[in-house]
Every structure is written in structure tokens, then in C-alpha cells.
């Protein structure tokens, strides 16, 4: 069966030296939500821009329903763009300040010639606004007249206007007020249920990912280091970096403060990617082998892949706890 989206060994080098994305492969099924998590600079946002063809990969291919997007004609690419839409992080920059809400949400339809005439456009806009709890009176409002949450809803309607099969959502709620975030997450889930859209959900927030994702891919320094179904990822993460990320999530209650796996220092720069396993400079488990040899992203359990030489060798949690207890 053909996957909806297949990224194969994607690489993106900026300015000849910055290896922002350094060999990333993953696939997405119809109706699936894949979360791409990692810290700033890990390359997750660059991956989203590559998928949206906002920037061209240095190497590697992206196939949408089996078709290589890199070899498409302009016309074919325009058609595929109807199927892949996006929601951006910043609800303030993602809407043109000189367009009204009605024009913004119907823009994709107008660009693809699916809507003709002012009156028709206005009616469609009103219908679209109603689907996310806005009303007809908002049609002629300017973006600055909306709150952050409302603006993000406009962004979501715009993304769904063409009935896409895949939506790339790059940190869609992290710029919003906490009390508004859950509204927007619910809207994203309702829309998915309604339209059967797949999500590539990019986030640094593990708790939100746990709520929304079907599968999780963890990125570190331009590579996926772990890729697993949600349940097995959160119950038994196999890569020490995933484990550290999870242990760093703030507690949900003062009595549940976690035993931390403290990573040493900061992530290295993507200009100087360490030899061997790129995580070895900060890994509490690193051995000699890790400095020499880069571990492949290999299957360690059912559908659960991790790029670590010792992924199955030790029970991770106890091992890490030992190391951190004896550490400085």
C-alpha cells in the first residue's frame, strides 16, 4: 500500500556548512498524526519547510502518494499543494495584516479558482468562520482585531479550506495563552476526525504530543533518534535522549517532581556534528563505541526504532538512574 507521505533520507545544508537536517526518513499514513519533537535547532522546523516545499532539500526525496515532489512540474506541484496545508506557530505573522478575515480564510479557494465573485466568497467565508466558533460579523475584521486564539483559528480554517489530506502543524499552540491552547487543540482534533486529515505535528511539548499523536519521532541535531508508536514511546522510551526529554517535562503536581536525567551542557552546533553517535557528548551512557560508530535507526521492538547502540542492552531507566546518582 502506498503511504500518504514518505520522506526518504532528507538532507538540508544551509550555507554549505550548517547541516540542519542530516538524513531524515519517515512516513505518514492516511489519518495519522505523527509528532516530530525535539529542542530548538534540532531541525524539526526545517523538516516542515521541506515537506511544504518552502525550501528545497539538498538531498533526499519526498513522495506524496508515491509521487516524487522534487520531479513534479509546476502545475502538478500546485495540485499537490492543495493536499498539503500547514498551520504555523506565530498567529501574528501568519495572517496578512492587510487582508480581512473573510479574504484570508477563502484565499486558498481563490488561488485555486474554486470560488468566483465577491458575494459567493463572502458567503463561503461566513460558513467557514462558523465552523470554528467565529461568526458572520467577523468577516470584514482585520487580523489585528482578533485575539491570538482567534487568529490561530483563522489559520486553521485557511489550512482546511481546500480539504487537504495532510496538514503540517508547526508548534500550532505554543504561542497561545494556556487557557486558549486546549480550545485550539480540540479544534484541531475535531477537524481531523471530521475530514480524515493526517497531521505532521511539530512540537517541543511532550504533554501535548502525548495527547494528540499516534506516533512520535524524536529529533536530535538533524536526525531522528527514535521513532515509535505513542504508547510504547511513553511507556518505554529506548533512546537516552528521549528519556532525558521526558524526565525534563515539568511536574504536574508538586509531589510528582521527576527524577531528572540531567544532560551535560548544551546541544552541539549543527556545524560541528560530533563523530559517531551525535548524542555521545551529552549522553550519560556513552561508551567508547559511541564515539566511533554512528548507530543506525534500527528496529528494537514492534514498530519501535531507536538509534542507539545500547537500546536493548540495558533496562534504560535503572541504568540512567544509577549513572545520575553517582554523577556530580
Amino acid at each position: 500500500m502506498t503511504k500518504l507521505l514518505e520522506a526518504n533520507d532528507l538532507r538540508k545544508v544551509f550555507g554549505g556548512a550548517v547541516r540542519a537536517v542530516d538524513g531524515v526518513s519517515f512516513s505518514l499514513d492516511e489519518r495519522e498524526t505523527l509528532a516530530l519533537v525535539g529542542e530548538s535547532g534540532c531541525g524539526k522546523s526545517t523538516v516542515s519547510r521541506l515537506i511544504l516545499r518552502l525550501t528545497d532539500p539538498t538531498e533526499g526525496t519526498i513522495r506524496f502518494e508515491g509521487q516524487d515532489m522534487g520531479r513534479m512540474s509546476q502545475r502538478a506541484l500546485k495540485e499537490v499543494r492543495r493536499e498539503i496545508q500547514f498551520v504555523f506557530q506565530d498567529p501574528f505573522s501568519s495572517l496578512d495584516p492587510r487582508m480581512t478575515a473573510g479574504d484570508i480564510v477563502t484565499e486558498p479557494l481563490a488561488v485555486h479558482g474554486l470560488i468566483k465573485g465577491r458575494a459567493k466568497r463572502r458567503d463561503t467565508a461566513t460558513d467557514l468562520l462558523k465552523t470554528v466558533g467565529l461568526s458572520a460579523k467577523h468577516v470584514n475584521n482585520w487580523p489585528r482585531q482578533f485575539s491570538g486564539g482567534q487568529r490561530q483559528r483563522l489559520g486553521i480554517i485557511r489550512a482546511f479550506a481546500l480539504g487537504p489530506r495532510l496538514i503540517v502543524a508547526d508548534e500550532p499552540v505554543s504561542a497561545l495563552d494556556v487557557s486558549v491552547r486546549s480550545q485550539v487543540i480540540n479544534i484541531l482534533q475535531d477537524m481531523q476526525e471530521d475530514k480524515g486529515t493526517a497531521y505532521l505535528f511539530i512540537s517541543h511539548d511532550m504533554a501535548t504530543v502525548k495527547h494528540i499523536a499516534d506516533r512520535v519521532a524524536v529529533m536530535y541535531l538533524g536526525k531522528i533518534v527514535e521513532l515509535a508508536p505513542k504508547s510504547s514511546f511513553f511507556s518505554a522510551p529506548q533512546h537516552p535522549y528521549s528519556e532525558a526529554l521526558l524526565s525534563a517535562v515539568p511536574a504536574s503536581h508538586p509531589d510528582k517532581r521527576r527524577e531528572r536525567i540531567l544532560l551535560q551542557g548544551d546541544p552541539p552546533s549543527p556545524v560541528n556534528i560530533p563523530s559517531g553517535c551525535r548524542f555521545h557528548t551529552r549522553c550519560p551512557l556513552a561508551q567508547e563505541l559511541c564515539k566511533r560508530e554512528e548507530p543506525p535507526l534500527a528496529q528494537v521492538a514492534d514498530n519501535h526504532a531507536a538509534a542507539c547502540h545500547f537500546a536493548q542492552a540495558w533496562p534504560m531507566r535503572s541504568r540512567v538512574a544509577d549513572t545520575s546518582a553517582s554523577g556530580p
Partner: protein
């Protein structure tokens, strides 16, 4: 020596004046004890940062304190002289911000920036100040401080800069540290490091900390007590355990429920608070939360509830939590 280090009562701050004045703080009551960490939680426009700035008398030009008092260590700050304030800011109260990069001078070595207040407030010689700056850097966990002290801010990562800010803030051994969203701009693993650092400094120096944040996770990690702000007022005040065990204000309840956590049971939908955070120029009358409140009463839109204790360690400003309504009429 009293237990209270900082006491703010009925603090009111407005932007502009006359007809166009916008009330940003509408009577804030808050206290910080010596050596405790107070979490000040709120969303945009709640007035949490403004409260801290007002406490340090660092308000932006357009804002004015209209009423209320701020007393620090027995000293009234709303009427304090400029000289007195400058002395306090360097020696007894200090502050760190969300963006360490913009709070540091980009063309000055970090070592010189740490040494400056040491020389000014403690009268150290350049040499002694430098030695002490190195110690400070080491004490906030910066590796290789002898070399790092000669770095410029752009040569350091965000997490490291926040450590530098903390070193600077603590260099004169203040009694109170105000941390305004200290980890919001940082990655989770770095956030964890910084929170751990703040916690250990609090114990080590018997330091009082006000952590301003929108994130209950940060509060759970570090705070001893919490004040929840909404619409320029404190709506709930509690010991951190009590707040997480039994939040009282409908806003606190809503926020806690709406925040996804790793421990949360699988559920299809997140519980959400309806509506949006009001802009400070369009604050609803009465209890500012009433248009979004699921437990709204008839008087909520006209009368402001006062902060009333529901237990020895917890107070809430909500009409729905009043045992009897007679004192309000």
C-alpha cells in the same frame, strides 16, 4: 525581624491618565515570606509582570501607581527616594528576565557585566571583582568559568546566558529575586537545569524568589506558595500543594484541567475554558472572569469578590465559594 519580606497591598496601576486611563492592576494584595518561593501565575494581560515591575518601581513611563503600598523589609517603596530605590535594587532585590540576550549588553564581556554591580554596590577592586565574578559563574554551574568570563553574550547559548543573568542577580546576595518567565524562552532540558539551579540557590542563600510564569509545570517544580492572577487581581492564593490538590477558583480549576500533562489519562478532548483572555482595555466589570466562568452567579458581573480564606493556607476571590452572601450585600 518579621516573617514578611515583601508585602503589596491594594496596589493599583494604570496606563495613561484621565478618560483614557487603562487600569492594569486593580488592587493587588500579595506577600512574600523570607526564603520562600512564590509562584505568580497568569496569562497575558493578567498583570503578573506589571506587579513585579511595580514592586521594583521599574514601571514603564506611561504607567502610574495610583493607590496601594509596597513594603519591602519594613520599608515603604511607593514613596521611597530614587537613591534609596537604587540601593535596594542592587543590594536587596534583583530581577531576571525571559530573554537574557536582550537584558545583557552585547558589546560588553559577561565578566565585566557581572563585576560592575560588585564594584558599585560592594566597593570591590577590579581584581577582587573579577575573582568574585569567576566564583559566581562557577556557582551557577558554568563550566570553565576562567575562560567564559571573557566571552561576549553572543558567544553563549540561551541556557548559559540565563545562568549568567542569575549569577549577576545573585552577586550582591539579595534577599529577593524576581524571575519573570525565566525559562519560557528555553528548551525543556535547559529549563529543567535552570529550575534546579534556582531551587538550589533558594536553599543555599535563604533567598526569597518570585517566579512569574504562565506555566503550572514551573510552579509545581519550584514554588512553595502560589498566587493566581487574572484581569489585574489575585484570584487565588494558596500553598502549592493545596492549589494542585484542590484548586478553588473556577479559573484555577479550568487552567489546571486544560493543561495537558504526561500523567493525564487518555481522553478524547481536553477540558477547555471558553472565550479568550480579555485585553486590559476591555476588562469586564465585577469579577473579570465572569464571562468565561462556568459557575457564574448573578452578582458576578457587578461586584468584585474579595480574597477570602477557605482554609488556613488557601484564599480565593469568588462569589461561588462564599459560604454566606450577607457580607457582600
Amino acid at each position: 525581624m518579621t516573617q514578611q519580606l515583601l508585602t503589596i497591598s491594594d496596589l493599583q496601576v494604570a496606563f495613561g491618565s484621565g478618560e483614557n486611563a487603562v487600569q492594569a492592576l486593580r488592587g493587588v494584595d500579595l506577600s512574600v515570606h523570607r526564603g520562600e518561593c512564590l509562584g505568580l501565575v497568569g496569562e497575558s494581560g493578567s498583570g503578573k509582570s506589571l506587579t513585579a515591575l511595580a514592586a521594583m518601581r521599574l514601571l514603564p513611563n506611561a504607567a502610574r501607581i495610583n493607590a496601594g503600598s509596597v513594603s519591602f523589609d519594613g520599608e515603604e517603596l511607593t514613596s521611597a527616594s530614587r537613591g534609596k530605590l537604587e540601593y535596594l535594587r542592587g543590594n536587596d532585590i534583583s530581577m531576571i528576565f525571559q530573554e537574557p540576550m536582550s537584558a545583557l549588553n552585547p558589546v560588553m564581556k559577561v565578566g565585566d557585566q557581572i563585576a560592575a554591580p560588585l564594584r558599585k554596590h560592594m566597593g570591590l577592586s577590579p581584581k577582587a571583582a573579577r575573582a568574585r565574578a569567576i566564583d559566581q559563574l562557577a556557582s551557577v554551574g558554568i563550566p570553565d568559568p576562567q575562560r567564559r568570563i571573557d566571552n561576549y553574550p553572543h558567544e553563549m547559548s540561551g541556557g548559559m546566558l540565563q545562568r549568567v543573568m542569575i549569577a549577576m542577580a545573585l552577586s550582591c546576595e539579595p534577599k529577593l529575586l524576581i524571575a519573570d518567565e525565566p525559562t519560557t524562552a528555553l528548551d525543556v532540558t535547559i529549563q529543567a537545569q535552570i529550575l534546579d539551579l534556582l531551587r538550589s540557590k533558594q536553599k543555599e542563600l535563604d533567598l526569597a524568589i518570585i517566579v512569574i510564569t504562565h506555566d503550572f509545570g514551573v510552579v509545581a517544580e519550584i514554588a512553595d506558595r502560589v498566587n493566581v492572577m487574572y484581569g489585574g487581581r489575585i484570584v487565588e492564593e494558596a500553598r502549592v500543594r493545596d492549589l494542585f490538590d484542590s484548586p478553588q477558583h473556577p479559573y484555577s480549576i479550568g487552567l489546571l484541567n486544560a493543561t495537558p500533562t504526561l500523567e493525564m489519562a487518555e481522553q478524547r478532548r481536553l477540558p477547555a475554558i471558553g472565550g479568550a483572555v480579555p485585553h486590559i482595555s476591555e476588562m469586564p466589570s465585577g469579577c473579570a472572569f465572569h464571562p468565561r466562568c462556568p459557575e457564574r452567579r448573578s452578582k458576578c458581573d457587578s461586584q468584585v469578590p474579595k480574597l477570602d480564606p477557605v482554609s488556613p493556607n488557601q484564599s480565593v476571590a469568588c462569589w461561588a465559594r462564599r459560604q454566606s452572601d450577607d457580607q457582600a450585600a
